[in-house]
């Protein structure tokens, strides 16, 4: 492995177009960072849609609009996760719900901790992790993809079993084992990234540090690119080591409409627009995609469309609290 030498030849810092072209192929297995309405790499995801990637396999824990918009745009073949919903706004996310009810995608359900542990196992390089969760639930017994189908397919990233229950060799008690998840590419949105890839996340990390470690390649979009040297003055505050990161893209507000702690809040007004379109059916949703994705030439134009400076000022986080105190979150839904 000589990643760092690679870097001398070609810089890791790039634009979303290049990152998606380079690292996201059709059929790519993607680990999604963020949590429900927080810190999803939305601009990167919109670029995946713009480049019309197909048959993606998504892995997540509690996802939201990141997974939902990809599903609604027809990019997704399968999703393995614990939850798809936009907590304060709508749950389940509309395109996910419709796709499952119409069986136009495949899905596999774990609990949030079960899904987390799959990334942890991947990050640790072991084939499984044990847990006492899910025992007695239908997550143990009901499989989205059958054991037979799993064996038949020639997909090295698809575990031979959804999970297994064993008797503990030390205590005799029942323990559930979940199989490791190692995505081809992790997509993460962070507050800060060093010029060579050292990542710092402020606030909750969610599962991002493990998704990055589990994956083969890592794409990081970030609010700010900081001097690598400065990032290393307090290395205890960094979550992802530079050598794991393959692409760095600076996209201020790149997680909109989701929230980024200390930078900006989630945007209830845009969520209302999105949800209305997504609930109204495929046709209405195509219009949303045309308006906010396909016809849009990059993040600047997107930010103008969703309300421009006036909107961004209202979403801006209070610098102590880390979130906006200017938005009225219930209002767009009255």
């Amino acid at each position: 492995m000589t990643r760092k030498v690679e870097k001398e030849v070609e810089d890791k810092i790039m634009e979303v177009e290049e990152a998606v072209k380079k690292f996201i192929s059709n059929g790519c297995h993607i680990g999604l960072g963020g949590f429900t309405v927080q810190r999803h790499p939305m601009e990167l995801i919109r670029e995946i849609i713009r480049q019309r990637k197909r048959n993606l396999v998504l892995y997540g824990c509690s996802q939201g609009i990141d997974a939902d918009i990809l599903i609604g745009a027809g990019c997704v073949k399968r999703i393995e996760m614990a939850y798809v919903g936009d907590e304060p706004f709508v749950s389940p996310s509309p395109n996910f719900r419709r796709a499952v009810e119409e069986r136009s995608i495949e899905w596999e359900d774990y609990s949030n901790f079960g899904a987390t542990l799959r990334f942890v196992a991947g990050a640790l390089g072991v084939p499984f992790m044990p847990t006492k969760s899910m025992l007695g639930s239908d997550m143990i017994t009901k499989w989205g993809i059958s054991s037979r189908s799993r064996k038949r397919r020639k997909d090295p990233r698809l575990a031979k079993k959804k999970l297994a229950v064993i008797d503990c060799p030390f205590t005799g008690e029942k323990v559930a084992l979940v199989p490791a998840c190692k995505p081809e590419v992790a997509v993460i949105h962070a507050q800060m990234c060093g010029g060579n890839g050292t990542v710092r996340i402020l606030g909750q990390t969610f599962v991002d540090e493990f998704i990055a470690r589990a994956a083969e390649k890592v794409i990081v979009t970030c609010e700010e690119i900081i001097s690598e040297e400065i990032m290393r003055v307090e290395p205890e505050r960094n979550q992802i080591p530079f050598y794991l990161v393959d692409a760095i893209i600076q996209v201020p507000y790149g997680a909109h409409p989701t929230a980024v702690y200390k930078y900006y809040d989630y945007d209830p007004e845009h969520y209302a627009v999105y949800i209305r379109a997504a609930k109204a059916g495929q046709e209405a949703f195509e219009k949303y995609l045309e308006e906010y994705v396909y016809s849009v030439d990059g993040i600047s134009e997107y930010l103008k469309k969703i309300g421009g400076k006036e909107k961004l000022d209202r979403l801006k986080a209070d610098s102590i609290l880390g979130y906006s105190t200017q938005i009225r979150r219930g209002e767009p839904f009255r």
Binding site: C61, N112, L135, G136, V175, F206, V207, E331
Partner: protein, 266 residues
Amino acid sequence: MDEDDFSKYTTVELMICRAAKELKNGEIAFIGTGLPMIAAMLAKRMHAPDLIVVFEAGTIDSKLLHLPGSVGDPRCVYGSTICSGLFDVFGTVLQRGRVDVGFLGGAQCDMYGNINSTAIGDYLKPRVRLPGSGGAGDIAALAKRTVIIMKHEKRRFPRRVDYLTSVGWIEGLDSRSKVGLKEGGPVTVVTDLCVMKFDEKDKSAYVAEIHPGVSQEMIQDETGFPLDFSRAKETPEPTIDEIRLIRKEIDPERVILRRLTKYRQF
């Protein structure tokens, strides 16, 4: 309704106040989005100032100045003792057995307190797809006790859930320990009609408290399994203080209260 008349309350507000009473001071509570968050914030402002609120996305003992809209909300971070991620909270707090009480909700709840938040109908051919377990399946398995909050409708209280996302007492008696779970299990169900508890022996739900103005018939009509009313008292009413706190201090933006009236159908 006059929102400034705190002597009048909605059913949802009654549920919140009653749920808050399930949280004891000094306990560690694992709280999910929505009504449970309002109940936890109310409890902290009333009888349980030292309630330790844990959110699965990575915060422990949030001070909760403002109502979070998500368990991963930036609003969860302020004043917390530690801010980490799902592995830490689910693993070293919940699964380690530190959580005294967790709140659960869902689309269906059966007579043994099992909950479905995954799919209505067949799992592989669902009539209605729901968001999925999220942390609910974990809380149900691993908290020392759980409290369930549900809208009381017949289709939501079937004899058996279509998909068992969050384990309650499973099939009653000792079936919970038989699957390998050492402790935990639901103790209370708070609905918009009544409060149910679970029989010590067979673990089936019975009615423990009936809300003011609700009849036994109304409850039984909205329930898909027979209920025992022999132990039922009347649910205590919210106080003016509680209602004022909920409306004016906890959810003045109507982040959650708004949704509870608009989005409760599935």
